[in-house]
Each structure stands twice: as C-alpha cells, then as structure tokens.
Symmetry: C2
Subunit: 264 residues, 2 copies
Amino acid sequence: MRSIAIINQKGGVGKTTTAVNLSAGLALQGHRVCVLDMDPQAHATLHLGITGNRTTPSIYDVIMKGVPIHDALQRIDNRLSIVPGHIDLAAAEMELADEVGREMILRDRLATLPGVDYLVIDCPPSLGVLTLNALTAVNEVFLPLQPHFLALHGLSQLLNTIDVVARRLNRNLRLSGVVLCMYESGTRLAGEVTNDVNEFLGSAQDPSRPWHGARTFSTKIRRNVRLAEAPSFGRSIHEYAPNSPGAQDYLELTREVIAMASRS
Amino acid sequence: MRSIAIINQKGGVGKTTTAVNLSAGLALQGHRVCVLDMDPQAHATLHLGITGNRTTPSIYDVIMKGVPIHDALQRIDNRLSIVPGHIDLAAAEMELADEVGREMILRDRLATLPGVDYLVIDCPPSLGVLTLNALTAVNEVFLPLQPHFLALHGLSQLLNTIDVVARRLNRNLRLSGVVLCMYESGTRLAGEVTNDVNEFLGSAQDPSRPWHGARTFSTKIRRNVRLAEAPSFGRSIHEYAPNSPGAQDYLELTREVIAMASRS
Ligand SMILES: Nc1ncnc2c1ncn2[C@@H]1O[C@H](COP(=O)(O)OP(=O)(O)OP(=O)(O)O)[C@@H](O)[C@H]1O
Ligand SMILES: Nc1ncnc2c1ncn2[C@@H]1O[C@H](COP(=O)(O)OP(=O)(O)OP(=O)(O)O)[C@@H](O)[C@H]1O
Ligand SMILES: [Mg+2]
Ligand SMILES: [Mg+2]
C-alpha cells in the first residue's frame, strides 16, 4: 500500500481538492483507495457527498475512542472509500495534550485498515497534532502549493517539520513532490514561484533529508471554476465535469503519481 | 477606537490580504491604524515588509510574557503601525490550556495601546484560542469570504462561535459584515454563493444575535494578481500598484467601512 499525506499549513492552497480528485482519479484507474479526512472542517467528506450523522463513526471516534478503523469506513463506489472527518477533531489538540506518544495514535489504528492500494490523508491548515499523526502514519508527503508568495513563505517551516518527524517518529517518511495548484500560466508570479521551488528542491544534496530527490510534479493543476463547483454536488471532478480542464489535469497527475515508483 | 477582527477558519479566503490592505487604506484616508498579527504564519507582518528578528518583541511576547503592547509596536509609516506575529504563537494553544481566563489575555493587554482610530486583527485559519482572544478583544468582526461552496460551508460554525463569545465573553461583539474576496464575476458559483449569504443575513430577525443587521459589503474585492504580488515586495497594494483593480477595490471598501457608523 502507498500511503500519502496531503499537507500544507498555508490555508486554501488546494489540499482538499487534491486529496479528493487524486483519490477519485486513482480509483478510476482501477486502484482501491481510502481517503482519510483529518481536517475538523471535514471538507473532503463534504466534497464526496457524505453528510455526517451522529450514528456513523468518524476518524474522531477511531482516534479518541478506539473504534476500529474498518467500522468507520464508508463506501463511495466499488473502489473508493472514506473515513469521514468531524468537527470534534478541533478539540484533539487539547484532548491529546497529555497522551503518551500522541503523534502515533493514527499509525497504530491504521494497522487494521483492510487491503487498499492507496491511502490518501487530507490535513487541516496547521502543523499541529492532527497533521503530525498523518505524517507519522504515512510513507509519502505530497505538498500542494498555490504559486503565490505567501504560500511559498511557509515552505521551509513545513520541510523542517517533515524532517523532525522523519528523524524521530517515522524513518520511512519522504517528500514525494510538490503539486502546483490553481496555476495561472501567464502571470509572472506563477513563473517566479515555480522557479524558486524547483531551485530549492534541485539544490537539496544531502541524501539523508526526506526531500532529497523530491521534485515538482510536471502536471500543473490550472485554475478552473469547475473544481470549485464540484464540492457543491458532492462529487469528484471526474464525475461532475469529466471533460473540464480540472478533470484533465487531475487525471494527468494521477497517471504521473502511478508511474513514479513510490519513493519510500 | 474601532476594533475589528478579520476572521474565517477556512484557509486562504483573503483574511491577511484584507487586514493589510484595509488597514493601509484607512491610514491613507488619514486615520491612525494599528494592525495586530495573531497568526503564527505572521503573514500580515511579512506582507508589510517586517522581517522579525529575535530582539524586537512580537505579539507572542505581549501575550505570554507580559511585554507592554506599546513596546511591541513597529511603525510602518506615520499613521500605520503593526504588532508583529511570530511562529511561537503556534504553541499558544498548548501553553494557555490551563490558564484561567485564557481567552481574555489580549483584551487586557490592549488596555495600554496608545491612541489609534482603528485596531485591525488578522487571525489564523482556525477557531482556537488565538482567534478567541481576538473575538474577546474587539467590538466588530469582518468575515472575508471567497464565494466558493467549501468556504460557505463553515459559515454557520463561525457564527456559532461569534454568538458564544458575544454571550459569555464580550457583550459588545457584533458581526459588521461579510467581505467578498477573490470575486470572479461571471461565474455562476460566485452569484449563487453571494445570494446564499445575503439570504442568510437578511433572514436574521432575532435582534439579540450578534449578526442581526449585518450585511455583505457592497464592495466586492475582485481577483487581481497584483494583490498576490504585493506581499513579495513588503508593501500594501496601495503602495505597490495604486492604479490596479485590487487597490481600487480595497480603497472603495475602506470608504465603505469609514462611512458605516460602527455597529457596536
Ligand atoms: N485548481 C483550482 N481551480 C479553481 N478553484 C480551486 C482549485 N483548487 C481548489 N479550488 C477551490 O479553492 C478553494 C481552496 O481549495 P481547497 O479547499 O482545496 O484548499 P485547502 O488547502 O484544502 O484549504 P484549507 O486550508 O481550508 O483546508 C476551494 O473553494 C476549492 O474549491
Ligand atoms: N483578490 C485577490 N486576488 C488575487 N489573489 C488574492 C486575492 N486576495 C488574496 N489573494 C492571494 O490569495 C492567497 C490567499 O489569500 P490570504 O493569504 O490573504 O488568505 P488568508 O485567509 O489570510 O489565508 P490563511 O488562511 O492561510 O491565513 C494569497 O496568496 C494572496 O496573495
Ligand atoms: Mg482543506
Ligand atoms: Mg492569513
């Protein structure tokens, strides 16, 4: 199983959109995929049309109450399933403050995840305990990035966090790549930021660093309003607007992800 | 003094861009303005060209170490100043967990803020203790909103939080208005979301609710790449590209804000 965490503490850069549409794309290509929604906003859950009700367990129940993960799995189609997020996750930072090994809880819960080919985890816009649990539980990190100056600014802090987790909590952790999202070709800004990112990744010579060998995916996800419309229909872009540039880009990204041998 | 918190737990909706460019607009119109950066990303600080160094105090030192707020004030020009943010704020949630009245610390620290006409607080994409401190310290809330489905979804939770703070911690708190950001006229999505918001605000009949009488500002902030470029020059949009649509929209919003009698 390939396990991938979609992470960036900068808000609104395309984490949820990438988690959902990449996962749906992988399922379309015949792989069994589980999406795990670690964001209290539960936007990946909403995007896939799951409206939580009190009776079905969420990832909150799995982490905090020990509900087995396969009891929280909800089927989207015959290859795609989701462990839904829940607003109660917002309290996790406080509730886990004194828990021994609080970053490793999700890793242990995933031991009983039924056979899937890909696990994709959507994370909130922070580097707190929920994101640390995701980083400890997976082998790969994908970093969605809007090619804007403010989004670029937090990159070094994000890489530091990945480095610390890789050294202390999860030796397998590697940064697989940066996904350029909401890309508007023709703006000078996009070109400059892309160059900055590629230069940084290209210069990482130290093989012990988790981002050594990482690169920007050649597929750029262009800005496309269909991607912003799809969540209101509870569908991935592939179901909602399969011929849109958004669907094409995410399908191309999906093929690129499958083609790359997992870096771990 | 009018005190305004810029809040939305959804990431990347234009909080920082609004806090900085509205504040700079108010200063241009002759008002004395203090920006307070409560986000650990410290993007408002970066946007205004302040690169923090260890020696100058930040809002973290004010809140956690009792440094007087006027010692942390940095001048941007003769009417605009900022209390810088700092990455250490990210630990505040844990560090303040057991502090009595942890939501009221900022309110008390602001008692010694030197005379300004406007206090504008930029907040992180969450409803945690930093945002609660901002809500408890101000009289008004501005709610930047990208007219997208996912951004609309969290509105009711945000309003609930404002309501609880208004009842328990801050009787003066009112929602002044919703600022539509990154507006792309011509997309069906923007029209639909705007209608949804206006319908919701228009239907709020209960005068005891803090959003009673609130409305969407008639100025819409259009998507304009200059707004995303300005932070890389450490300037507000008014300095970086005064004739851009972005500068025009924020100047128009500024005039609208000044014209509205404060709702508190
Ligand atoms: N390529 C794109 N083109 C147009 N809109 C997009 C694109 N990607 C994402 N969006 C929209 O932009 C907004 C932000 O994207 P998204 O919610 O996926 O970001 P996020 O990083 O998950 O945000 P958060 O930090 O709040 O979790 C959403 O409304 C989404 O629908
Ligand atoms: N009207 C606009 N047109 C174009 N780009 C914009 C506009 N407003 C903001 N941006 C850009 O979009 C990105 C998100 O905006 P911003 O950082 O202000 O949002 P935020 O809500 O403060 O995000 P966070 O949740 O991370 O604090 C930034 O790169 C910013 O430069
Ligand atoms: Mg998200
Ligand atoms: Mg911000």
